[in-house]
Each structure stands twice: as C-alpha cells, then as structure tokens.
C-alpha cells in the first residue's frame, strides 16, 4: 500500500518535472497594419490569381450594347431614364418566366432608388455595367396584392417623393403632392382584383421601409437575380436609350 503510493507519487513527480513549466502571459502588444501599395506584391500569388482575373475581365468587358448617353439615378425628380430602364427590363425579362410558371402576368414593377448603385456611362455596355448597377445578389420576386392594398404603395411613393423605379403603375400628383390619378396598365385600379408586383427579395422583406408586400395574395420566388435580368436585357437590345416619361409626375 505504501509502496503503491510512493510509486504513484514518483510518477506524478517525473511527469511534472519533465513537463514544460506553466507559461504566464506577461505582455500583449497590438498593431493594425494597413495593406498599401508600399508592400511588395507576392509574384507567386499574383500569378496564381491572374488566369482567374483574365477570364473575368474578358467576360465582364465583353460588349453587350451601346449607351447613347450617360444615365444617372439623380437625373430626375420622380422618375428617371435609368430607373425606368431597370423597371422595364424587369418587366420584359421576368414576365415571360413568371407567365410560363404560373399562367399569370406581372402588372407592375417597383424597385428602390437606393438600389441603383451606379450610373450607365455613355459608350459600351458590358456585364461589368450590370455588376456596377447591381453588385448585390438580390433576386426578383413576384407578389400578389389586392387592388385596395395598392393605396399603401401609392402613399409610400407620394411620401418618399423619390424616383423609386416603377413600371406598369402610373401616378399623377398635383403641385401639393396630392394624388390626381393612379392607374395600373392604363386602367383604374380595381380594389377587388389581384395585381402582381415584381420587386426584389430585399424590398419584399421590408427593405427601405416597403412594408406593403405583407400580407399578400401569393408570393413567387423565381431564382432570377436582378443583375442577370440586366445582363439578359443588355444582350437583347443594341442601343440603350431610355427616357424619363409620365409614369410618375407632378403637375404644375
């Protein structure tokens, strides 16, 4: 018994002795190192990236269309050429997909002004243009809304007084920002009818305070990214020449 204990103690003894001594944290120092052009480029790493970069550049800079002018989201007050192009591209590219899947048609489109992330500069339009306009991965979704609920959308647009891109919906305001006229597909809005709005998944989830998509009369996810909509649209048209029109205006 005593021997066992001694043996045990001896074991522990040797174990502890040969083990590294417990270390004690004595000092901590910290710094933030900025990655600037004064640092050397690691040639091996850069060579590894190059084929990927070249492939993307080649693809992104392939010419899809030609823009006759420079278009910016700040070109107009309540509707802009650029915003109209985006809303109309969504309608023309997405409606066939939506119709094929559901047998229904999109009646209107609404996006947000803040979601337009760059201009379209005059000259060649490429996939890079679409990446700059829409760097995010947001997708188009379609939401069914009863006519009577569309008042919430109209109220939102009147309150915001911004050129949120719209399509299919036409709003006329008087000089005091009171609604004069609201139409969908050039017809008066039927409060009992279900209208199908295309928008982004971001806005559907109440982004930019667009709280009017829920509850709804149906939600359709199409797995179609807005950026890909734009790329597909640019592929189809030769000339980019959008205009500001009368879809959302204020009378003098």
């Amino acid at each position: 018994m005593r021997f066992t204990y001694l043996f045990f103690l001896l074991n522990i003894f040797i174990f502890f002795s040969c083990k590294q001594q417990k270390q004690h944290l004595s000092k901590i120092s910290a710094s933030k190192i900025e990655i600037t052009d004064s640092l050397e480029v690691n040639a091996k790493i850069d060579a590894f990236i190059k084929p990927y970069r070249d492939h993307i550049d080649k693809d992104l800079d392939s010419v899809l269309a030609y823009a006759v002018d420079t278009y910016s989201k700040s070109d107009g007050k309540l509707n802009t050429a650029l915003g109209n192009l985006m809303a109309d591209a969504i309608y023309s590219e997405v409606n066939p997909v939506f119709n094929k899947r559901t047998g229904k048609n999109i009646n209107a489109v609404i996006l947000n002004h803040g979601g337009i992330r760059s201009i379209i500069p005059k000259g060649n339009v490429s996939p890079r243009t679409a990446f700059q306009l829409m760097p995010f991965e947001n997708e188009v979704v379609v939401v069914g809304l009863k006519g009577k609920r569309i008042q919430d959308i109209i109220d939102y647009l009147i309150t915001q007084r911004r050129a949120h891109p719209i399509g299919g919906l036409k709003l006329t305001l008087d000089k005091n920002f009171n609604l004069v006229n609201a139409k969908i597909n050039d017809k008066n809005i039927d409060p009992t009818k279900t209208y199908y709005f295309a928008t982004s998944d971001y806005l559907y989830n109440m982004g930019d305070n667009m709280t009017f998509f829920q509850p709804n009369e149906g939600f359709y996810k199409l797995n179609y990214k807005i950026r890909n909509v734009l790329i597909d649209y640019f592929k189809k048209v030769d000339t980019i020449n959008p205009v500001a029109d009368d879809r959302f205006i204020q009378l003098n």
């Binding site: 045990f8 103690l9 522990i12 003894f13 502890f16 002795s17 040969c18 590294q20 001594q21 417990k22 270390q23 004690h24 944290l25 004595s26 000092k27 901590i28 120092s29 910290a30 710094s31 933030k32 190192i33 900025e34 990655i35 600037t36 052009d37 640092l39 050397e40 480029v41 690691n42 040639a43 091996k44 790493i45 850069d46 590894f48 990236i49 990927y52 970069r53 492939h55 993307i56 693809d59 992104l60 890079r128 990446f131 760097p135 991965e137 998944d201």
Partner: protein
Amino acid sequence: MKRRDFIQQASAGTALITMGSMGLQSFGTSPKMSKITVLHTNDVHSHIDAFGPEDGRNANKGGVARRASLIESIRQENPHTLLLDAGDIFQGTPYFNYYGGELEFRLMSKLKYDATTIGNHDFDNGIDGLFTQLPHAKFEFITSNYDFSNTIMDTHTKPYKVFKKGGIKIGVFGLGIELKGLVDPAMYKETKYMDPIEASQEMTRILKNDKACDLIICLSHLGYNYRNNPEKISDLKLAAATKDIDLIIGGHTHTFLPKPTIVKNIEGKKMLVNQVGCYGINLGRIDFYFDNDKNKTANGTSIVV
C-alpha cells in the same frame, strides 16, 4: 473516487513544487520567454485584387498578393504565428459570382490561414455552395454555436481547436451571428443557431480546464457593438459577460478600430476585442509574450495597444 484522486494529485503536486526548487528544473526544455503572433482579417468579401486608384478612400489599398508578402515577412520574424479570419470571406466582387468562393479559399490556403469562423455571407450560395468549396480550404472552419448536424456541413466544422505554437497551447473557438432575418432560410436550411454566451461558457471551460490552454481566442462574426440595439449580442457584450477569453477577433460590422478595445470581463480581468474593418484593407496583429511562471510579476499582464 475522482475527487480523491484529485486531492492525491494535488498533494503530490505540492510535494513536487518543493522538490522542484531543489534544482530539478533542468528537465524543463521550454525557453524563458515565448512570443505568439496572432494575425487576423475579417469581412474580406472576395476582395482579392487591390482597390484601384479611383476607389475613393480605399484607393490603392488591400490586395491578397500584398497581404501575402506581409504575412510571409512576419512569419520569418516569428514562426510561432497564427493566421485567423472572422468570416464573410465570400461575396463582394465578381470573383465570387464567377467562381463561388473557390479562389478565396485557395488563396487563404496558400497564405496558410489556420482557421476561420463562418459569416452570414458565407451562406450566400447556400449551405451547399459553402460545402462545395470546402475541398479548396486547407484550414479549419471553427464554429461553436451553429449546429450543422441536420445539414450537409455536418462534421466539416469544429467547435474548437487547440493550436500548439512554441510550447504554447492556443485554444480557438468560433461564434456566428443569428441567421434568422439576416439570411434567407432556403440558404442556411436546418442550421441551428445557439446562444453565443452559453456556447462561450462551454468552450472556455473545455479550453481552459480540460485542454489547459495558455491562450483563448474567440473568432466572432457577431458584430462589434450595436449602439441602437443594446439588447443585441455583440463582441463588447460577449466580452463583458464571459471569462477566460484573452482575445475576441470580430467581424460583421466592418468596424475599423484604430486599436483593440480593452474590455473587463465578468471577473474584472482585462481582455481585448479587435476588428480591422473589411475588404482586406488591414491586417490585425497581436503579439502575446509568455514568461515562465517563476518570473511572474505582481503586475500581471501589461497591455500595450
């Protein structure tokens, strides 16, 4: 029985310390002082190339090839270096849209990253999209509060990992942000989010008590601080509510801290919370100096930030 063993060991240990002072330390092989360098990034968001000269305040900054030379020179200076990332590796440049994160993971492997945690944007191609890229990653994915057991990521992440550098044991665990409301459920599928504080308590217990780590680092994608939502868990809140964490390396909020924040943990001990912005513009560096216990000063640890 277990308790009895412990008492026996404890008394044997006491005997040893007495004998230890009788000149038997010569067994000890550890150097007098060890230095561990922790390098870290967060929210690189597929920024592989440096920003161009026209990119506003980020002009000419960042770039993986430059970060590579910097890391290499630091490793030459101190081989006991750990390189970590706090998530959101994916999404932000066409590299991700074209290659789904392959190049990001391959480059991090070439730079010899040791580990990362998982950010919300790392689910942007779905949990399947993340899984698909795993063969390109030669580093660990550490997450302690995402339960992936009903997903394809099951068994491909670790709740913690102990790294040994220069005789020092460094325990690393990872925390992800709540995905509900932030990421489409179709993307994260049956990933379960668990309470970060509870996860930290369990991890620090394991790393401190069971694994006897000398240093504990938390890789967090919770976000630095939410001033307008003080109830929301953040790195600052986590730091103050836990113990035994020496460093939280944060992400998500793209916070450019000029230097790490010193926070008092629940025991009143000082620890560090750091985050270095985003897009690979900065590399964070923290050096931990270890001394033999016998040289321990009454002042504890001095922090120079």
